[in-house]
C-alpha cells in the first residue's frame, strides 16, 4: 500500500506541515520526544519510498523529492511532461500533470496541511507550482 501509518502521518504533518518543534508535538500527543524523532525519521524514509514508487509506475525521472513537505517533481521519460506528486494524508499520493493543472479538493486540503501554499491567497495552482519549481 502506498500509504503511511496514521500516527506517522500525524507526526510528520504536525512537525513539518505545522513547522513545530518535535518536543511540542511530543507533549501534545503524549509520547516521548524520541518516539517523535523516530516517527519523523522513518516517516521521511517511507514517504521517499512512496514517491519513488510513483515515479517508477509513471516511468518518470525524479527531479525533486521533499518528504518534509510531502511532494515530488517528476519528468516523464517519453513525453518530457512534468508531474507533481502530492501525498494526501489518509489517502496516499496524487499526481498532477503540468499540462493539465487541476487540483481536486483532497489535494487542495493536503497542500494546505503540508504548508505548501502558506501566505498565498489568490491563484492557488500558480502558488503551488511556484513552490514546487523554485
Amino acid at each position: 500500500m502506498l500509504k503511511l501509518p496514521k500516527r506517522m502521518e500525524e507526526v510528520l504533518l504536525k512537525v513539518y506541515g505545522g513547522d513545530r518543534r518535535e518536543s511540542e508535538v511530543a507533549r501534545e500527543l503524549g509520547i516521548s520526544k524520541q518516539a517523535v524523532s523516530k516517527f519523523v525519521r522513518e516517516g521521511r524514509a517511507r514517504l521517499t519510498e512512496i514517491l519513488i514508487e510513483v515515479a517508477e509506475v509513471l516511468q518518470a525521472d525524479v527531479i525533486r523529492v521533499n518528504p518534509m513537505k510531502g511532494y515530488a517533481v517528476l519528468k516523464c521519460r517519453g513525453s518530457g511532461v512534468k508531474a507533481y506528486v502530492i501525498y494526501v494524508p489518509g489517502k496516499g499520493p496524487r499526481v498532477i500533470f503540468s499540462n493539465s493543472l487541476e487540483l481536486s479538493e483532497d489535494v487542495v486540503k493536503a497542500v494546505k496541511e503540508w504548508g505548501l501554499v502558506r501566505g498565498c491567497s489568490n491563484d492557488l495552482i500558480k502558488c503551488l507550482v511556484s513552490t514546487l519549481e523554485s
Binding site: E42, A45, R46, T48, I63, V65, N66, K75, V129, E133
Partner: protein, 287 residues
C-alpha cells in the same frame, strides 16, 4: 547507468563506500569552508590584478596571487562518495583536504530542471564575493583618482565580466541563464573586436600620442584581456548548456551543491541520494 561509476571499496569490513566518478560528478564550493575559500580566492586574485595594474608586479601582488591560487586549489571540488548512509563531499587539489559529511539528507533536487530554480535562493552568502570583485576595479579608479592606462581596460574588465557571469548564474533560472549567456557571448565578441578595440586604440593615442601597436607590452596586455574575456564567455556557454546542478539539503536546513555532467548523470546522482534517504530512515545500510 550513464557516466557515473559507483565503485565498491573495502567490501570486507561491512562498510560500503561508493566513489562517484569524479569526472562526471563533483562537489561545488557553495557552502561551508569551501565557499569561504573560493570567495577568498576570487577576491585575492582580483586584488592581485588591481595591485599589479597600479604598481606593476611587486611582492604584494605576487603574494596575493599565490594565496589566491592556494585558496582556489583548496576549494576545488574533487569527489563525491556515499559512505555508510552519508554523502561525503571532498575538496582540495591535488589531494582532498576538506570533507563535508551530509548525514541526514532531507531533500534533493536538480535545480537546472526546475522552471523557477535559482541558486541564489539557497546560497545567498556565496554570491557576495562576486559582487565584491565587480566593485574592486571601480574602487581602484575612485581611490586612485585617475583612469588606468587604456591598454589595461580589457584586463580591468575581467573581474566585471566574471562577477557579472557568476551573479547572473546565481540569480537567473537555468533556461534564462542559457539564453542570457548566448546573447552576452555574441554581443561581447562583436563589441570586443570592433567598438572596444577602436576605443582602446583611440584613448591610447589621446593619452600617449602614439599607436598602442608601437608598445608591444601594452598591446599584448590589451589583447590578452580581450582573449581572456572571450575564453570566459566560451567556458560559461559550454558549461551552462551541458552541466546540471544537484542541490542537497540536510536536516539542519543546510544546502550543498554538486555539479554533474549532463541531465542523465544528475538523475543517476539523485537516485543514489534517494537510496541514502530511504536507508537512513530505516537505520540500515544503503544498498
Amino acid at each position: 547507468m550513464v557516466g557515473v561509476r559507483f565503485l565498491r571499496v573495502n567490501p570486507s569490513r561491512f562498510t560500503r563506500v561508493y566513489l562517484v566518478n569524479e569526472y562526471s560528478v563533483w562537489p561545488l564550493p557553495y557552502s561551508g569552508v569551501p565557499a569561504l575559500l573560493s570567495g577568498t580566492s576570487l577576491t585575492l586574485l582580483t586584488t592581485s590584478l588591481i595591485v599589479t595594474i597600479a604598481n606593476t608586479p611587486d611582492p604584494l601582488s605576487l603574494t596575493l596571487l599565490a594565496l589566491g591560487i592556494l585558496t582556489g586549489l583548496l576549494s576545488c571540488g574533487r569527489c563525491v562518495r556515499v559512505v555508510d548512509g552519508a554523502v561525503v563531499l571532498e575538496y582540495g587539489f591535488p589531494k582532498p583536504v576538506i570533507k563535508l559529511v551530509i548525514k541526514d539528507v532531507t531533500e534533493v533536487f536538480d535545480i537546472s530542471e526546475l522552471s523557477w530554480g535559482r541558486l541564489g535562493r539557497y546560497f545567498k552568502v556565496t554570491a557576495l564575493p562576486f559582487i565584491l570583485i565587480m566593485a574592486l576595479p571601480i574602487a581602484y579608479v575612485v581611490v586612485k583618482g585617475t583612469y588606468p592606462n587604456p591598454a589595461y581596460l580589457t584586463v580591468m574588465a575581467l573581474p566585471l565580466v566574471t562577477g557579472m557571469l557568476l551573479v547572473s548564474f546565481f540569480t537567473l533560472t537555468s533556461p534564462t541563464y542559457r539564453k542570457f549567456i548566448k546573447r552576452a557571448a555574441t554581443i561581447t565578441s562583436v563589441s570586443t573586436v570592433s567598438a572596444v578595440a577602436f576605443m582602446i586604440g583611440y584613448l591610447y593615442r589621446e593619452t600617449y600620442g602614439t599607436s598602442i601597436l608601437q608598445n608591444l607590452t601594452h598591446a599584448s596586455v590589451a589583447i590578452a584581456g580581450a582573449v581572456l574575456i572571450a575564453l570566459l564567455l566560451a567556458v560559461a556557454t559550454v558549461m551552462s548548456s551541458r552541466n546540471h546542478v544537484v542541490v542537497i539539503r540536510d536536516s539542519r536546513g543546510r544546502y550543498y551543491a554538486l555539479g554533474t555532467r549532463g541531465p542523465e548523470v544528475a538523475r543517476e546522482v539523485i537516485r543514489e541520494v534517494l537510496n541514502v534517504m530511504v536507508g537512513s530512515g530505516r537505520g540500515d545500510e544503503v544498498n
